[in-house]
């Protein structure tokens, strides 16, 4: 009996492809996010706002209740975690999702809000492999799956759109582009 290698190849390509759709999207999204790490924070949406209050509201030894009042006055909808004075004229208030830094003499300060970016935070978390343990194995299997997808992808079609005719040019260009970068920059 003759083994139909192309049929096996195509089934493998199809089913491995189905199986790793989620992983491909996770790693692609976080790959784009982390590629631009110099331009943005891929995990958090950070906003800074300059604030000015009457300096009489501030002092170098405010109680938790007084800091509560200040936060209420500023209409900040975040819970206070802790406050302290890095130096006598600076009040630092840590909030759930940000912080407030105030100059107790001038009443000028900055409110920084830090919120997780939906989707990106989660995919980056996985991409960075913070969970370790079984995720390391599963992501290694995914990496192997990608190699398998690439190789089986070469042999899905035959004829004018197959590897030997149309495909070979795409494969060559796809290999030459990274090689070109290596030649120029390495």
């Amino acid at each position: 009996m003759k083994i139909n290698w192309r049929k096996i190849n195509n089934i493998l390509h199809r089913d491995v492809g189905y199986f790793f759709v989620g992983m491909t999207i996770i790693y692609s999204l976080s790959g784009i996010a982390l590629n631009h790490i110099d331009d943005w924070d891929p995990n958090y949406n950070i906003e800074n706002k300059r604030i000015h209050v009457d300096a009489k509201m501030l002092s170098p030894s405010m109680s938790s209740a007084e800091v509560d009042q200040l936060i209420d006055k500023l209409n900040v909808d975040k819970k206070i975690k802790k406050h302290y004075y890095p130096n006598p004229q600076t009040l630092k208030v840590f909030l759930n999702g940000g912080s407030l830094t105030m100059n107790t003499r001038t009443g000028v300060g900055f409110l920084e809000t830090v919120d997780r970016r939906p989707i990106f935070y989660e995919v980056n978390y996985l991409h960075y492999n913070h969970t370790k343990f079984l995720w390391t194995w599963f992501s290694d299997i995914f990496a192997g799956g990608l190699i398998l997808l690439a190789i089986t992808g070469l042999f899905v079609l035959k004829g004018k759109n197959g590897l030997k005719r149309r495909g070979v040019w795409f494969v060559l260009v796809g290999i030459l582009i990274p090689l070109g970068f290596l030649l120029v920059y390495l």
């Binding site: 989620g22 790490i37 924070d41 995990n43 958090y44 975690k81 802790k82 302290y84 004075y85 890095p86 630092k92 840590f94 909030l95 759930n96 999702g97 912080s99 830090v114 997780r116 989707i119 935070y121 989660e122 978390y125 996985l126 960075y128 492999n129 913070h130 969970t131 370790k132 343990f133 995720w135």
Partner: protein, 179 residues
């Protein structure tokens, strides 16, 4: 039925990773801290030689988490002045949400003395291995050496001490930890 299944998968994928670092974390696994008596940052730095190279359990408030990498944080002691750097090490990464939280961290305490001999060796290595580093990296390191030399001039014994903890695990605690 299909909708329920999909909802379960989605909530697991995103919900599981959305947990804040409340429990003890080491290399991504949940573990229990050994019962070692905890020491405040102030007490630790009051007698650094006693703890050098030893495993410590440290308590304090997180006042800064490295924004770019999350690879280190600054832990403040009970006097609200003394701080020490904790390197993520085996923990992997610290989340920004930890700022303002009280934690109990376990790690190895490190003490490094920076003197002229140390800086001369560093400058020599930089000269020899400089070709393996980018121009920016070389400039940054040269800048640090220069900065350390300037700082050393201001000290009585002409040397600086650098302290940090190589983190093994940590746990957030709700209230200030009494020592």
């Amino acid at each position: 039925m299909r909708i329920i299944f999909l909802a379960l998968v989605v909530s697991c994928v995103f919900g599981c990773s959305n947990n804040q670092q409340k429990a003890t974390v080491v290399a991504g696994q949940q573990v229990v801290l050994e019962e070692v008596s905890a020491v405040d940052v102030v007490s630790l730095l009051a007698d650094p030689e006693a703890y050098n190279g030893k495993e410590v359990v440290l308590t304090g408030t997180v006042v800064h988490v490295c924004k770019h990498s999350g690879k280190r944080l600054h832990l403040m002691g009970s006097d609200e002045k003394t701080k020490i750097r904790v390197e993520a090490g085996a923990i992997g990464k610290f989340e920004r949400e930890l700022e303002g939280s009280n934690i109990v961290a376990k790690g190895i305490f490190r003490r490094e003395v920076i003197d002229e001999e140390y800086l001369a060796k560093w400058a020599d290595e930089l000269g020899k291995e400089g070709e393996h580093k980018s121009h920016e990296e070389q400039e940054e390191e040269q800048g640090k050496i220069k900065q350390y030399r300037q700082m050393m001039k201001k000290t009585e014994d002409g040397r600086l001490e650098n302290f940090w903890v190589d983190g093994i695990s940590f746990e957030t605690v709700e209230e200030d930890v009494a020592i």
